[in-house]
Amino acid sequence: MKIAIQINEGPYQHQASDSAYQFAKAAIAKGHEIFRVFFYHDGVNNASAFTVPPQDDRNVINQWAELGIKNADGEPELVICIAAALRRGMLDESEAGKNGITGNNINPAFRISGLGQLIEAGIQAERLVVFGD
């Protein structure tokens, strides 16, 4: 089955991203396709390359990155919402440049895009599963 996931909460504060990760991993193991994971609200913080958890804890960001969810063109299908990301200080190189800010903090396994990608995921996938409060 073709499945899309929406994550509405940030890492560590909330278990939504962990639960979604466990769900995605189990679904892939069962032969299902994870079409796209869309990060919204504080969920955009799941893409921060600056995340440094204690050594004895899981790294939520790297877990997602290692799952390697990509499309046929090899682009990441871990997508963070641009509007939600910008207002929370999550910037890739391009957005940092446009806004005159030095530095960027998006893990390369993720990409920034618009809310249309969430709607498209709802249209294309057979199931859209939402994780959050």
Partner: protein, 134 residues
């Protein structure tokens, strides 16, 4: 592109957290995809469409007027839980007018608000292809 039934489930108060505002941003983007869109307001989500909102004292943007623009985006099915209203001492009279122009009825102005029981809402939700919960 295929047409699916999308429902946006609004469950939280308009201020205090960003869920309501960012849900509305999704709904406005979604309008461009020409899907069958409806909104439901349950639990504290009913406060999102209460009339006479004033945010002057809290330094937040009052985005309640945006709900009124939904009709222009062909979004005219706003289901409100009767039980959630009454649990909060509210009724239909407390909800702001949200209208659309019905192109099948000589552009007559009609209310987009539909007060429904939780049983009715359950049935409507079961008919959806995609439910996005905020």
């Amino acid at each position: 592109m295929a047409t699916k039934k999308f429902m946006y489930l609004n469950r939280k108060a308009p201020y205090g957290t960003v869920y309501a505002l960012e849900s509305l941003e999704v709904v406005l983007i979604a309008a461009a995809f020409e899907q069958d869109v409806s909104l439901a307001f349950i639990d504290d989500g009913v406060y999102q469409i209460i009339a006479g909102q004033n945010t002057d004292g809290i330094g937040m943007k009052n985005f309640s007027k945006t709900y009124n623009a939904l009709g222009d985006y062909d979004i005219n099915k706003l289901y409100v839980s009767e039980q959630s209203l009454s649990e909060r001492g509210l009724s239909e009279a407390d909800i702001m007018p949200i209208v659309y122009e019905d192109e099948d009825d000589d552009w007559a102005e009609k209310s987009s608000i539909k007060i429904v029981s939780n049983a009715e809402l359950t049935k409507i939700m079961a008919e959806q292809d995609v439910c996005l919960s905020f």
